[in-house]
């Protein structure tokens, strides 16, 4: 036999017992061809996407069936809606939102991502129209997602965009606000929602793949019981290699069937609320008995470095966010530790320095006001432009008090309402304008 029984059983165990799967195959497709100056003509042109989506769904289902690999979601990333709304109205934006959502529903695409805008330093008319309409766009759809890039190393950090963003998310129910994010340095090829959009510089259509796999890493650590940090690093690196290879295989095969480019695998370890599929669980397997305890950041840094080194070997092209996700609700152990008080906002902000999520899937109580949320987002985005990395914030304003939780079900899990510090920050967050780009900018020339 070309493979030993141990090798075969290892793959079997990863796929059947350790929750290894493909989190998403994301078709990233150019839709700018549909810009037509009026709504009717735009929608008419967008209709041609249907054929592409049909081929995509068929290709993903065939590949999943042939290889016996679970592909949890199919997603489509479209060109940022901002470009459409430069010459169309806010009402037109909402019509396009519903049209895209309808297409996704018709073809059984889990998410269509790209009701997005770039406002790192200021607003074009199109960006402003996106920001002013995204709450209504999400409230009237189920599969559409929103990303506002409000900061970049090159352009700075736009406080005005944060304020407008917070105004919008405060008028959205959790089912909508969980589909929106505000980011720094968003990459053009993310397979994850809500950050996914068909970025500038991409070919007409590409496939980007997101893998799962926290359970594989956690089990590998528990089985090998490493005695030194180098052994620990090596165990993670080897497991990450295998996880990423699966993404490479599936991405290549789906792209081949569609006759388009396979662009990237996102190395990110994406948790899910399922037991044994938790990034916090990995940190605890490394010997931090409760995620959030001192040493958690160092442990996450070791994990991240090993994942990147193993993953880089496994794929011909790395893309997307490629870090570790530490969403609170989508990770059952994180949610538990947040409820217990071991993980608070400053823990998440500190961890953001070595991973790529920022503050993700955390609820805030509306009773604590908008200003503190603006301050929280500014903290994370400032970290993004200072460290020159991708970070984002996905907050879910709710009526419930801090310390409680809201169950969104499915992949989204239990959203914990975390307490914001009871400190008045209105003087700082009411300052107008944008933060100029940092010295990091000058390193780029």
């Amino acid at each position: 036999m070309r493979y030993t029984a141990e090798e075969i059983m290892e793959v079997y165990r990863m796929l059947s017992e350790e929750q290894l799967d493909i989190r998403s195959v994301t078709l990233s497709v150019n839709t700018l061809f549909a810009i037509a100056g009026n709504l009717e003509a735009t929608l008419k042109r967008l209709e041609s996407l249907g054929g592409t989506l049909e081929r995509f769904v068929k290709a993903v289902d065939e590949v999943s069936g042939k290889y016996g690999i679970r592909i949890v979601t199919k997603r489509v990333a479209v060109s940022p809606i901002q470009f459409f709304l430069e010459s169309l109205s806010e009402e037109d934006g909402l019509e396009i939102a519903e049209f895209l959502d309808g297409l996704a529903q018709e073809y059984k695409i889990d998410y269509v991502s790209g009701y997005s805008a770039f406002a790192d330093r200021g607003f074009t008319n199109g960006a402003l129209r996106v920001i002013k309409t995204f709450a209504d766009a999400l409230n009237s759809t189920r599969r559409l997602t929103v990303m506002i890039n409000a900061a970049s190393t090159v352009a700075g950090l736009n406080f005005e965009a944060i304020k407008l963003y917070v105004d919008e998310v405060f008028r959205m129910p959790p089912t909508s606000s969980s589909r929106a994010t505000i980011m720094a340095n968003v990459p053009p090829d993310s397979p994850f929602v809500p950050s996914a959009h068909h970025g500038l510089g991409m070919p007409e259509a590409t496939i980007n793949v997101a893998v799962s796999g926290p359970g594989v890493i956690e089990s590998a650590i528990k089985r090998s019981k490493p005695k030194t940090l180098r052994e620990l690093h090596d165990v993670i690196k080897r497991a990450a290699f295998k996880v990423t290879r699966l993404g490479e295989l599936i991405g290549r095969k789906v792209a081949e069937r569609m006759g388009i480019d396979f662009t990237t695998v996102d190395l990110s370890l994406a948790p899910s609320p399922a037991v044994g599929d938790s990034v916090a669980g990995i940190i605890e397997a490394m010997g931090i008995s409760r995620m959030g305890g001192h040493g958690s950041l160092a442990a996450l840094a070791v994990l991240m470095d090993a994942v990147k080194k193993g993953g880089a070997m496994a794929t011909s092209a790395v893309g997307g966010l490629s870090g570790a996700f530490i969403p609170v609700s989508e990770d059952s152990v994180m949610a538990e530790r947040a409820l217990e008080g071991y993980v608070d906002f400053y823990t998440l902000i500190a961890l953001s320095a070595v991973c790529n999520t920022g503050v993700d899937m955390v609820a805030v109580s509306k009773s604590q006001g908008k200003e503190k949320v603006v301050g929280l987002i500014a903290d994370v985005l400032a970290l993004g432009i200072t460290l020159n990395k991708t970070l984002g914030v996905r907050v879910i304003p709710v009526d419930s008090p801090p310390g409680s939780y809201v169950d969104l079900g499915g992949l989204l899990g239990r959203v914990v309402v975390m307490k914001l510090k009871d400190v008045d920050v209105s003087g700082f967050v009411s300052l107008a304008g944008y933060v100029p780009s940092t010295l990091k900018r000058l390193e780029l020339g």
Binding site: M1, R2, Y3, A5, E6, E7, I8, M9, E10, V11, Y12, R13, M14, L15, S16, G65, K66, Y67, G68, I69, F241, K242, R245, L246, E248, L249, M313
Partner: protein, 86 residues
Amino acid sequence: MIVVVGADKPGIVAGIASKLAENNANIIDISQTVVRGIFAMVMVVDISQCKVSLAELRRQLQEKGKELGVEVQAYHEEVFRYMERV
């Protein structure tokens, strides 16, 4: 590549093999191993002349597995080539 996991008892190999034969899938290699005290059988099967797709073959084998009280998984060889070879 077919993996069968479950309690060892008579008839498992025969049950799976007959289902493969029905579909014209040819067993190339077969080995047995024990994982955490549980019987596991690994088969390498040539499906180039198989009457049905791998997805359908997997469905039929899993149905048979249920009758036999074992778990059956079927993966394409490329999965192992990608994950177990640099």
